[in-house]
């Protein structure tokens, strides 16, 4: 059959086939673009949220979303610091210990009363801590000084980590592991494994206080129940977002930010190019310690106590997991705070949806691990595609 002898019917058939081919191609291209986008985890999170919300409609209620957001902020604060460390090809295992130690330090300053039966065995009992409370109990400015001390503790531990890593070229894994052991044990020793409760309300407000809250529905009773008032703008949100935005701006627009990426890509080349590698490494670990201290403030305030075990257990896995799932590369040189925010949201959403599934406690962590593995595998596939494209 010659090309010129096609009937109008054949022409229409060819046109339809071409359109189908084009639309198939555009669908493939659409998914390819999503898969290769640097915001892939964001799209995955949205897809996961929508799928789960179709099955569990309560997931999308304002009450649940408001509650989930409140769980995002402390984790974002600490993961922000971890992101910086991972970008320079390091890891900070001491963040959990810093959180616990800073929490205890704040408690020793701010507590308004202490139980001698529980804390009487503390080596600081009778000097820093008494039945009347902490060192500055009830005095004006105690919260400010307590918060300041928590930040100083975080920064100092970070400085110690950074000094040993930069000055002696010790592996970050080893140095921060030692810090983890040292400072978590010190916190437990100082409190004899007790919590320092009775923190002032001005401090606990930082963990859960609302700046703007809202209420849906008619006001049919004289008072609105607390459970019906939904938090929107909270202290933890403002603090964590301010920290995250400041660090993101520093990474994107400052010389220090460019140095950090350069060290992560190749420290030797960066040094030859004039980057003060040692100083930058120390600054990054100080920032990581400060971020952990900010998280400690938020966690201690929401839990209402100076707790040596804040940040113990699986907390470090959540911090590193959320950072890496967000897209920050364990190979260094690549990462953004906004990616970490997405990773944190994914982690929090995952925990929330697992609660909705009504799974037995024996299986929940298995399912959680499986979903994280699937997300990580997709991310690896995406990176390989990207690498192939670049080649």
């Amino acid at each position: 059959m010659g090309g010129d002898s096609r009937s109008p019917a054949h022409e229409r058939l060819f046109e339809a086939a071409a359109i189908a081919r084009d639309s198939r191609g555009s669908i493939v291209n659409f998914f390819r673009r999503i898969l290769l986008s640097e915001y892939f985890i964001l799209y995955l999170t949205i897809f996961y949220f929508l799928s789960m919300a179709a099955i569990f409609p309560d997931l999308a209620t304002p009450r649940n979303i408001s509650n989930q957001l409140s769980n995002v902020w402390p984790l974002l604060a600490v993961a922000t610091g971890q992101t910086l460390v991972i970008i320079i090809l390091g890891i900070d295992l001491s963040q959990g210990a810093i959180m616990g130690f800073a929490s205890v330090a704040g408690g020793f300053v701010m507590a308004t009363a202490a139980d001698p039966n529980l804390l009487g065995g503390s080596p600081l009992w009778g000097t820093v801590l008494t039945e009347g409370g902490g060192w500055l109990a009830g005095r004006s400015g105690s919260v400010l000084i307590g918060v300041g001390l928590m930040l100083v503790v975080g920064g100092l531990v970070g400085l110690i980590n950074g000094y040993f890593i930069a000055r002696f070229r010790m592996p970050a894994f080893m140095v921060t592991l030692v810090s983890l052991m040292l400072f978590s044990s010190a916190g437990i020793w100082l409190t004899q494994s007790q919590n320092i409760v009775n923190l002032p309300p001005e401090f606990t407000q930082l963990g859960s206080g609302d700046l703007v809250s809202f209420y849906f529905g008619e006001k049919v009773e004289a008072t609105i129940k607390r459970r019906d008032i939904l938090s929107f703008l909270t202290y933890p949100m403002v603090i964590a977002l301010a920290l995250a935005v400041a660090v993101e701006i520093m990474l994107r627009f400052s010389v220090l930010g460019r140095y950090i990426y350069a060290i992560g890509m190749n420290a030797k080349t960066a040094a030859i190019s004039g980057v003060p590698v040692r100083r930058v490494i120390m600054v990054v670990f100080v920032l990581s310690g400060l971020c952990a201290a900010v998280a400690s403030i938020l966690y201690s305030a929401r839990l209402g106590g100076g707790r040596p075990t804040i940040g113990a257990g699986a907390a470090l896995l959540d911090i590193i997991g959320a950072t890496v799932i967000g897209g920050t590369s364990l190979s260094g040189g690549r990462g953004k705070i906004v990616w970490t925010l997405i990773g944190v949201v994914f982690f929090v959403l995952l925990g929330n949806t697992l609660n909705y599934m009504g799974l037995s406690a024996f299986y929940i962590d298995v399912v959680k691990g499986g979903i994280i593995l699937a997300a990580a595998a997709l991310d690896v596939a995406r990176n390989q595609l990207l690498a192939g494209q670049a080649a």
Binding site: N67, N117, R226, R227, F362, I364
Partner: protein, 336 residues
Amino acid sequence: MKRMMPWSCGGLALAGLAVLAAMPAEAAGKKVCYAFQDLSTGFWGAGHAAIVDTLKKNGVEVVELNGGKDANRQLEQVKDCIAQGADGIILTADDGDSETMLVALAQEADVPIATFNRPPSDLSKGIIVVADNESVARQAVEAMIVQAEAKFKKTGKKLHPLILVGDLADPNAVKRREGFMNALKSHADLFETPVEINTKWNSQVALAGLEAAVTADPNIDFIFTSSDFLFPTIQGVLEPRGKWKKSGDDNHVILGGLDGDDGACKLIREGYVDSTGVQDVYLEAKLALDSIQDAIAKGEARPNGVKLDPGFALSQANYAEKGPTTWGCMVLDAKK
């Protein structure tokens, strides 16, 4: 720590359901969250099985929340639970301060809450189901003292007692220590000053402390553990020293514990352990479940009150009488 095996969970569930079968079902169709701190001992495993299976059997939707001994994680889980519109919460937190905070959080949101076995520091808020730990520990130690008196008569030498203390942030651990000390105080002529080993409810910490204590004083011959899950740890320390012997043997170390779990029951049957204080896990589960279901049925948002499990001591002497009503022995028999 001892971990629950799947087959033992089945046994626990069967034994628990048999005891709780007569529960009322006023809360059918409601949602109840059970937030616990872990399932690492037989007691918590049995409590979990009894609570979850009974609620499901009564047509209640159960949301299981394992805090993994992380106070912040458990706080987020309880907040999730409230946000999901749960009708009630049964809670076991890691320490009394966390219990107090979480009870206050639930009550502020008008969700009825009952604490299971581990009491908050503030006993005035929430339904608090707890064993009379001081009394149960004292009864168990008094049963051990009967053996100690016989040994003292035989040897004329004071005994060297040791207590494995739990985590002192846990009010249960504090009360059990008190019970031990009170029992010894009334027989001061029989004992040297007791050695205290802080375990933090961690078998590794307990092992290290016990090894050090037994090495420092090889004459220790009277050991009380604040929880039965540490008996395998004690065995691991005593056996290599030739002191893991049955009652009646000259090298027998008088042993007692608290919980009344299947491991302790087996060791009492075999003659290695002299007594254990039994907290009735099924009674406590029933008290917590009844309280929550009542509160839901009556529309009570903030029910308060303390429900006490009086407990008892199971010993080699009263095994025939008390064994069949001990939850650990029921679990042990269900495994057969």
